[in-house]
Every structure is written in structure tokens, then in C-alpha cells.
């Protein structure tokens, strides 16, 4: 069944063929909400194909080009495993959390340690969650990352459709009305070991109901002994629903090492007076493209979108954000910062869309980049699309190298050049890191940034 792909087929055809070769279990093994969409999804994908840079939304990132490998497309029959030691080594120090682990896009029951949950809450596998809460899936699955919706950007729906056709497993987080998770959820995503490049398509659904609260920290890591087979590709789709007065913090760290690529789609929808906070940190990877769409659909919502990308080597990182202000009296704030060296390419394309009638919106968007080497490149495209007059919206974008005057100042105070550079870069990243409401994560990020730019613990910044 794992379809071995043939050379003469086009990339898209390989996926179409793999879809037809799916086992009955893979096709029908889950709830109606998921399986009922598969056929339409693959048809939609067939019509659109992989995004190329002919599309405005993918102008600087050619996903189709990154897909030259022969992937194992179909889901593995059994969940691949990771050892307890591996998982323990990748936990955050001092973080008391409900721990969930996926390996190669499949939920690992053995390695997860969810522990006790408040009444009615669910933290665990997507496949299992679907069977346990079919009504929740009916109400929310495919509603936000909706490949069929015309309101969505058709340019963006190809990857979502492909995911919807193959989706089997991932995470499911469900926090019912008036329940607050006492501890954050720590989700560790590991690659499956092996030489064959895997095209994984995890699917995650987070439902935080009215007046509920949750915090999720996701880490995509690839430890040394478990490197990705070169060319591995992950096409992940996340959906989040936050009910009225709800609060959801979502942080994700992408650190999979060179050779692995990923395309993530995250659609979040939140209701009246809710807070949605998300941070995307990209530390490594070959090609990383993140599509983040947030729709504050009720009044008095607060949305925060932050990002930090540290590019090196041949890395290509592209963050596309869309904030759909569909309701009045909301606030959105985004800050994306990048440091690029070697031959890395950074892309930021943010769009704030204030719908007609959405008055009194305050929306801010900021993208700041530091380029350390001449071979690195930055493409920045912040957009404002505004159809209401009583608003305050602004965006800013800056790109430059490290300020020589600042380095000179530090050196004149007796600080060596290397350390001065590290201090300044640490300070640059700091306001993004500080937006994190989880101290163990903020501390870990500070160390990562410090270590990356050669200061280590001696940096004295943020510790």
C-alpha cells in the first residue's frame, strides 16, 4: 500500500495516485466530518496543484519546486516510535505540562504523558479525539481551514485541500465551557526515523469553548539521532476555535534541521471578547512556509501574532499572515522579527483586512529584519486592506544590518566585538521572546538565541 512513486508521473499525479491507493482503513477510519471531505478535497487539490511562485501569495516561495523528491506519501500503518530518553531530552526544563508526542505525524500513546485533566477536557490524538467527540468535530473540523470556502484565499487552499484528503492523525485539544487547563500542554513533534523521505500530513484541531482557557506549546524538533531523511516534507494544518471570553495561547517552535521542509496552515477563529495569542519561532529547516490566518469574529477581540525567524545556511523561511477583522472594536498586533545570515532568505507577507462595517479597529503590524551577510535576502510585503473609516491601522517594515555605531559604543565600553554583536542580536530578538507568557519557554528561547550568536550564558541578556 505505501505507494512507491514512479519517475514519469508529475508531482501532483503521485499524490492523486497515492490517494486512490489509500486503504479502506485510511479512507474511512474516522468520523464523518473528516472522511466525508476527502473526495472533494482531493478534487480541489487536483484542480489547483501545488502552489508555484506564479501565485501572488507564493511570489517568493516556490513550494512546487521543493517537492522533487520521491516521497512515501501514504500514512504508515503503525505509528513509528521514539525512545523515552529521546523525548525526555527534549522536554523544557522546569515546565510542568501535559505532554503529548507525535512521531512522523502520528500520535504516540506510549510517549505521551497527559496526566490528569480537568473535567471534560481532552488532550491527545486527533484520531482518537474524533471518535470521542464526533459532535465537536462536526461543529469545528474543516470550518476554519476550509478549502471549499470562497471567502478564503483560493491561492492558499491547495495545501489545505491536500491535507484534508490525507489527514489521519495529529493533535486534538478540547477544553469545554468554563474550564481552564491548569497546566500548559507541551506537544513534541518528532520525525520518523528512516532513509525514505516522508511526506507527512498531520492535522490538528484545538477547540477552546466559551470562557475556557488553554496554553499550548508545540515544538518540532529533530534530535541528532533522529534526523529527517533529506527532503522530508510536512504539510500540517491547524485549526483553532476560541469561544466567547476564551483565552488561547499558542506557541510553536520549528527546529527540524536542514533537509526538512514544511508548509503549515493555521486558521484561528475567535469569538467575542476572546484573546488569541500566537508565536511562531523558526530556528531551522530547508523551506518553511507558514500560512497563518486569524479571524476575530466577535467584538472586543484581542489577537496577537508574533514571529521570530533565525535563518542560516540555505534556509528559506516565509511567514504569511492574514488578519480578517470581520467584527468591530477589535485589536490586533503583530510583530515579526528576523535575523538572516549565510544564504538564507526571509519572507514576510502580512495582511490586515478590515471588513466593511468593522469600525474602531486598532491593527498594528511590524516586520523588522537584520541581515548579517550579503548573500542573505529579505522580502517584506506588509499589506493593509481597509474598508472602514474609524480605524487606526499602521504597519512598518525595516531591513538593515547591525548598527555599527551601537557596536562601536559597546566596544568603547570594553566589550569585545563578538560579544557586542551577540548582545545586540539578543536585544533585537528580545521583545518577541518577551511576548511569551510561559517562563520556561522564554528562558529556552533566550538561551537558543544567545547560543546561536556566540554569547552563550555569558551574554547577560535576558537571564
Amino acid at each position: 500500500m505505501p505507494a512507491t512513486v514512479q519517475e514519469e508521473l508529475s508531482t501532483e499525479d503521485r499524490f492523486l495516485q497515492a490517494f486512490e491507493g489509500l486503504s479502506d482503513e485510511a479512507k474511512n477510519g474516522t468520523v464523518e466530518a473528516v472522511q466525508g471531505r476527502r473526495r472533494r478535497a482531493i478534487e480541489q487539490f487536483e484542480a489547483l496543484g501545488f502552489p508555484t511562485n506564479q501565485l501572488e501569495a507564493y511570489k517568493y516561495t516556490n513550494v512546487a519546486k521543493a517537492l522533487r523528491h520521491e516521497y512515501r506519501i501514504a500514512p504508515a500503518e503503525a505509528a513509528p516510535q521514539a525512545s523515552t530518553e529521546e523525548v525526555e531530552a527534549l522536554l523544557l526544563p522546569d515546565l510542568d505540562a501535559h505532554v503529548v508526542v507525535t512521531v512522523g505525524g502520528r500520535y504516540s500513546e506510549e510517549r505521551s504523558d497527559v496526566g490528569a485533566l480537568p473535567n471534560g477536557a481532552f488532550v491527545g490524538s486527533f484520531a482518537e479525539g474524533a471518535n470521542a467527540h464526533p459532535d465537536v468535530f462536526d461543529a469545528h473540523y474543516g470550518q476554519y481551514a476550509d478549502f471549499e470556502s470562497e471567502a478564503g484565499d483560493p491561492e492558499q487552499s491547495a495545501m489545505t485541500a491536500l491535507n484534508a484528503a490525507f489527514a489521519q492523525d495529529g493533535l486534538f485539544l478540547y477544553v469545554p465551557e468554563d474550564v481552564a487547563l491548569d497546566k500548559p500542554v507541551y506537544a513534541l513533534h518528532l520525525p520518523s526515523a528512516g532513509d525514505e523521505p516522508l511526506f507527512a500530513q498531520p492535522r490538528h484541531l484545538f477547540v477552546i469553548e466559551e470562557n475556557a482557557e488553554a496554553r499550548l506549546i508545540e515544538m518540532r524538533r529533530a534530535p541528532e539521532q533522529r534526523e529527517h531523511a533529506p527532503g522530508s516534507f510536512t504539510n500540517a494544518v491547524r485549526e483553532a476555535y476560541v469561544g466567547a471570553h476564551g483565552h488561547f495561547d499558542h506557541y510553536i517552535v520549528q527546529d527540524e534541521g536542514a533537509g526538512a521542509s514544511q508548509h503549515t496552515t493555521f486558521d484561528a477563529y475567535h469569538e467575542t471578547e476572546s484573546v488569541f495569542d500566537t508565536l511562531t519561532v523558526t530556528l531551522s529547516g530547508d523551506l518553511v512556509r507558514n500560512n497563518l490566518t486569524i479571524t476575530p469574529a466577535g467584538e472586543f477581540c484581542e489577537s496577537h501574532l508574533n514571529g521570530l525567524y533565525l535563518g542560516s545556511g540555505e534556509m528559506h523561511v516565509d511567514n504569511r499572515t492574514i488578519v480578517e477583522h470581520a467584527a468591530p472594536d477589535c485589536v490586533s498586533n503583530q510583530l515579526y522579527k528576523g535575523i538572516l545570515e549565510d544564504d538564507a532568505t526571509g519572507v514576510f507577507n502580512g495582511r490586515v483586512h478590515v471588513h466593511r462595517g468593522s469600525q474602531r479597529i486598532n491593527a498594528y503590524q511590524s516586520n523588522k529584519n537584520i541581515v548579517l551577510e550579503r548573500s542573505a535576502q529579505i522580502y517584506s510585503k506588509p499589506e493593509l486592506e481597509i474598508y472602514a473609516d474609524d480605524v487606526e491601522c499602521s504597519h512598518g517594515s525595516t531591513t538593515g544590518e547591525l548598527d555599527e555605531d551601537a557596536i562601536f559604543y559597546l566596544r568603547s565600553r570594553g566589550i569585545p566585538a563578538e560579544r557586542a554583536r551577540a548582545m545586540l542580536l539578543g536585544a533585537f530578538a528580545r521583545d518577541v521572546v518577551e511576548s511569551v507568557r510561559s517562563e520556561p519557554l522564554a528562558a529556552w528561547l533566550t538561551d537558543e538565541v544567545g547560543a546561536r550568536y556566540g554569547a552563550g550564558q555569558a551574554l547577560g541578556v535576558g537571564s
Binding site: R356, E373, S380, I386, D389, V391, E392, T398
Partner: protein, 488 residues
């Protein structure tokens, strides 16, 4: 929104186009339709040399290939309009009495009346402002003044057609070098069927003794106008060129697809200013109105060259233009100052492209968009720093002001940085007129409209200050007219 502001809006939307009328001058118009024959006919009518005909034909064939494709109309801009039918347009129209006037007395009275109604009496302009006016009535230049004075300085300022006859080498060498006919659909169309336009040549070391200005008008019913302007500024020269336009009221949409090319050699400076106030269409329905789809680009060829675009766009149903600068020479400078005012059903998608190639190149972009009624106003701009553009510097600021609940204001900047020594800053804001600002004005005894006028004027001040003195007066007047009727 306060009542006064709402009424202001209402009044603004109700306002009729001031310059709506048609002049009755006998015309020599080619039948609608476009094929190779049309191109040959235009070329023959203008008595053009063989090489130019060949060039037109190449452009036409490229255009023809383009239009064979499906969805050949460029549709990426934030604009929504009926695409022009190229076979349903007439491509040539010239006033019949095509005489070379030696003095103003010989110019037909009708034409002089035309300018009078526009508020631009030629004689008065001559006397008061010292501006040479190359009046383009439809497509062919009919009145040229101050020629002698310019000749003294060695500056060539004439219609494109004349330049082709008198200075073919200069034209041949430079036309199409900044905007090739392959640039886009409308540039290809213009290259194939351009009727006339202006040509300016400033020799080495010469500072042009006066501001050059051309008034374009679209006059013939159903005729697209395809001007072509070419400005060549040799080493160390300076010229300021002004372009202002109005058009008569009419029903069907009119296409205006001009091409402007500027070449600035070492140490040369070119300043290009535009006031555009063409018929914006029916303010209630959006019917009619001019499609202003223009390609404007300049190149700073030599070191320390400077090109500056200033524009005040208040007219046209659809405006799509991106006056651009290619900063090739080291230390060269590009500037773009723009006010775009849209109301009624107007749509504008305008901005600039700054391409940094040389070292220490600088560009400044200041764009102010004002949107009222159900208008859509977009800023779209590209700042591209090439790998070799060491120490390039860009500053962009794009502010949008929204007046009314149903308009839209959008900002789409593209920033591409390929050299780390570059410093690129972009900033944009979108908001309505601040209540605190209004309050402050009220508190000082200013009425609703006066306050709004003051604030809007302040909002645009930076740009208007960039216009040459002669133009600034007209620009201010135009903005005041746009803002009139706002007294609550």
C-alpha cells in the same frame, strides 16, 4: 461620524465635474479597430521614417501575441472595471487644421476658448509665469510657445512627431530604452499606436531656463489617447517638466495609456510633476470616466543623477500608474511624492518602483491617499535593492485618510533586499481624521469644513510643497475644489 462630516461627504459626492464639455473642432479620425493596417496608417499619416514604422509593427505584433492568450488583461491590481475593447476604439485623431503656428494669433479661437474655460489662458500664462506651453489637443501639438528662448539655451522641446522628423537619431537612440514595448500590455499598445506627445532634450551642462509644461486633453469621442513622452537630460543638466490634464464629460469609458520615459545622465536632474483631473465618471453610478493606465519610468543612468516624480491624482475613474526610477548610477537619487484623492466610484492603484542598482543610491517615497464616497484607493510600491547596491537607502511613508464608511484604503508595499548594507524603512498608517484634531480646530473657532480643509491640507502639505511654484497654485486650487461643499 459627525453630521457635518456626513454632509460634507454627501456634498462631495454630489459635486459635478467642472470641466465637462466637448470642443467642436473638425477631426481627422481613423475608423475604430486595430490591426497592422491601422499601425501603418498612423505611421503614414505622420509621415514617419521606416525604422519607426518597423518599431511600431514589432510592438504591435507583440501586443497581438499577448492578446491571443487567455486572460491577457493585467488583473493583479486592486481595481474592478470593464476591460477596454481594443477593437472598438479609434486610434488616431488629429485636429484638421494642422498648421504650424508662428504666433498666438493663428491659433483657432475655439482652441483658445478651450483653454480659457479650463482657466489656463495661454497668453496670460506666458506673461505671468514664463512657462512655455506645448498644448496637446487630442494627439497632435497645435500650439508651441517660448520655442525661441529654449532654442537659445539649446533645449529641444517639441512634439514627439516633430522630434521624429527633426532629431531622428536622438529619438531612435532613446525611445523604448527605459520602457520597452514588451514591458506590459498597455506599453505595447502605446508603442504600436502612439499618436503624439512631447520630446525634451537638455544638452550637457544646461539648466533649462523655464519650467516646461504640457496640457493634455482628451477630446475626440471614442478615441483613446496614447501619448509618448521622452525626456533626455544630458550630463549636468536640469529640467523641470509639468503635466496637467482635464477631460470633457462623456458616457463611454475612455482609455488613456501613455508612456513616459526619462533618461538622466551623470549629475543630471529631472523633476516631473503631474496634476491629473480627468473625468472621474458619474459620481452616483461610476459610469463613464477615464481609464488612466499609464507606464512612467525614469533611469538615473549616470552617477549622482536624480529623478523626482510628483503627482496629484484627483481625476479618472480608474488610475493605475507606478512612476518608477531605476537607480543605476552610483549616488543617484529617486523620489516619489504623491497625493491620490478618490471619491465617488473612483478607483486608484498607484505607487512607485525604486530599483537600486548603483552604490549609495537613495530613494524617498511619500504617498498620501485620501478616499471618500465608495472609492478605492491603493498604494502599491516596490523597493528593490539589488545585490550590488552597496549602502542603498530607502525611506517610504504611506499614509491613508478615510472619509466615510464605505470607502477603502489599502497599502501593498513590496520590499526586496538583496544587500545587507541597505537600510530600508517602510511605514504606513491608515486612519480617519482624528477627533482630537477636529476638536482642537473647533476649540480655536474653526467650523467643521474649515477644520477638515485645514487638516486635509496639512496631510498633503509635504507633497504640494514639492510641486513647482506655478503648479502648486493650481494644485491647491484643485484640492480646495475637491474639498468644497464640506461646510456642514
Amino acid at each position: 461620524m459627525s453630521t457635518a462630516e456626513t454632509e460634507y461627504l454627501q456634498a462631495k459626492a454630489d459635486q459635478e465635474y467642472e470641466h465637462g464639455w466637448t470642443t467642436d473642432i473638425e477631426s481627422d479620425t481613423v475608423e475604430p479597430g486595430l490591426d497592422e493596417e491601422t499601425v501603418r496608417l498612423i505611421s503614414a499619416k505622420k509621415d514617419e521614417p521606416e525604422w519607426l514604422l518597423e518599431w511600431r509593427l514589432k510592438a504591435y505584433r507583440y501586443f497581438d501575441r499577448l492578446t491571443d492568450e487567455r486572460d491577457f488583461y493585467p488583473d493583479w491590481a486592486h481595481l474592478d472595471y470593464d476591460e477596454p475593447d481594443f477593437q472598438n476604439m479609434s486610434y488616431y485623431s488629429a485636429p484638421k487644421e494642422k498648421a504650424q503656428y508662428d504666433s498666438m494669433d493663428e491659433v483657432p479661437q475655439e482652441l483658445l476658448d478651450t483653454f480659457e474655460r479650463l482657466g489656463i489662458p495661454l497668453e496670460e500664462q506666458k506673461a505671468l509665469t514664463g512657462v512655455a506651453v506645448d498644448a496637446v489637443m487630442d494627439s497632435v501639438s497645435v500650439a508651441t510657445t517660448f520655442q525661441e528662448k529654449l532654442e537659445e539655451a539649446g533645449v529641444l522641446f517639441m512634439s514627439f512627431g516633430e522630434a521624429v522628423q527633426e532629431h531622428p537619431d536622438l529619438v531612435r537612440e532613446n525611445m523604448g530604452s527605459v520602457v520597452p514595448y514588451t514591458d506590459n500590455l498597455y506599453a505595447a499598445l502605446n508603442s504600436a499606436v502612439f499618436s503624439d506627445g512631447s520630446f525634451v532634450y537638455v544638452p550637457e551642462g544646461v539648466t533649462c531656463p523655464m519650467e516646461l509644461s504640457t496640457y493634455f486633453r482628451i477630446n475626440e469621442q471614442g478615441t483613446g489617447q496614447f501619448e509618448r513622452t521622452l525626456i533626455v537630460a544630458e550630463e549636468g543638466s536640469y529640467v523641470s517638466y509639468m503635466e496637467g490634464c482635464t477631460a470633457p464629460m462623456r458616457k463611454e469609458n475612455q482609455l488613456h495609456a501613455a508612456v513616459v520615459e526619462i533618461i538622466a545622465e551623470e549629475d543630471a536632474e529631472v523633476k516631473y510633476s503631474t496634476i491629473q483631473n480627468w473625468y472621474p465618471g458619474n459620481p452616483e453610478t461610476g459610469e463613464g470616466g477615464v481609464f488612466n493606465l499609464v507606464t512612467k519610468r525614469g533611469i538615473c543612468k549616470g552617477d549622482r543623477a536624480k529623478i523626482s516624480w510628483t503627482q496629484l491624482e484627483t481625476g479618472s475613474a480608474v488610475t493605475q500608474k507606478y512612476p518608477s526610477v531605476i537607480l543605476k548610477g552610483d549616488d543617484s537619487v529617486g523620489e516619489f511624492y504623491s497625493v491620490a484623492f478618490t471619491k465617488g466610484h473612483q478607483q486608484a492603484d498607484t505607487g512607485t518602483k525604486m530599483t537600486h542598482i548603483g552604490e549609495n543610491t537613495k530613494s524617498t517615497i511619500i504617498s498620501k491617499g485620501i478616499s471618500a464616497g465608495v472609492a478605492e484607493n491603493s498604494y502599491r510600491g516596490l523597493v528593490k535593492i539589488n545585490e550590488g547596491a552597496e549602502n542603498a537607502r530607502n525611506f517610504s511613508q504611506c499614509d491613508s485618510l478615510l472619509i466615510g464608511e464605505e470607502c477603502g484604503a489599502h497599502t501593498f508595499p513590496y520590499i526586496e533586499v538583496g544587500n545587507p548594507s541597505a537600510k530600508v524603512e517602510h511605514e504606513a498608517t491608515t486612519s480617519k481624521v482624528g477627533e482630537d484634531q477636529m476638536f482642537y480646530c473647533h476649540q480655536r473657532g474653526l467650523g467643521e469644513e474649515e477644520a477638515l480643509k485645514l487638516i486635509v491640507n496639512g496631510f498633503c502639505k509635504e507633497i504640494l510643497a514639492e510641486l513647482p511654484m506655478e503648479f502648486a497654485v493650481e494644485a491647491k486650487e484643485l484640492l480646495a475644489i475637491e474639498l468644497e461643499g464640506s461646510v456642514g
